[in-house]
Subunit: 198 residues, 2 copies
Amino acid sequence: VAERLDHRATPVAQYRESYIIAQDEEGLVIVDQHAAHERVLFERYLAEAERNEVEVQKLLFPVTVELPPHEYLLVEKEAEELRRLGFLLEPFGGTTVRMDGVPAVTSGVDPESLLRELLGEAGRASSAASDVEALRRKLVTTAACRAAIKVNHALNRESMQALLDDLFATVSPSTCPHGRPLLFRLPLDELERAFDRR
Amino acid sequence: VAERLDHRATPVAQYRESYIIAQDEEGLVIVDQHAAHERVLFERYLAEAERNEVEVQKLLFPVTVELPPHEYLLVEKEAEELRRLGFLLEPFGGTTVRMDGVPAVTSGVDPESLLRELLGEAGRASSAASDVEALRRKLVTTAACRAAIKVNHALNRESMQALLDDLFATVSPSTCPHGRPLLFRLPLDELERAFDRR
């Protein structure tokens, strides 16, 4: 289902601190808040990476991470792509790297565990195919998932409105980057039929 | 679908000033506020009538109503039932009656138009069948419909909670007295399946 770009939905309430109940001119829309935020972060981050304009968050306290040898080799091999994605990594002796910066989109996520997770992804990806586009999408998907607001997280009305506005400004507001549906529609005319009101 | 008597639903929000979005342990419940209030008033009013204990609201300013002859005859014929239903009517000369009281459940409804509507119903009912039980249910249904809160009517959280509590204390909380569905359920597990969360 294609969503219009001029779509405007307003929050009605949050349900179980996990779903945003919203309304638009068609009826009720229930939005999976985590998946919606994933979609927003994914598109923003991917677009920045494609333009090579990822905003970097410098770490006040750089983090040193000792890696398994095959992952250290991966850092060397994918150095350009990791830098493009906003990871500032420097050799620190042996198989250790120093992290000086991370993509701003992931601020709030533990840098070390994020790096380890992305290198794990990259390891599986590069043994399968060495398509830089596919690798980028995979890493961006994982980073967006880690950085997105979680379920069981209270949102106030302003945060819900901002998330809905960001979501309906994306290219594909109906699915998360993993391809799962993130919108559930309950059109007013369907509701009225259920109540024998039409 | 039978609803449990110990059911407790809490309001989440009002939608279009017409529907109460609520939640219970099963998931979301959307309630047609007018139909729900009809159900509540219907059961309360019918039970009072069956016990001959209808609470009467005395009119501060009695209303005189000139009736068509056949409806005046109906008032005489159904005098006992009308009194049982809480209508205090006295002959006022010719085909005019004076209304001294109405059922308290209908306070807020215009007494004259309510009387005319009920006599219209009674006229059609008595020409069809003369079952006093059926007539009573018909008149109680109509009065409950007239007295119930309307759609496009804002309710605060306390009013929504009170209506939900009253509704789930009724014998048949799933349908209005006319037999139309008044609850729309969206169980949490159905929602989670829609989002591929299970």
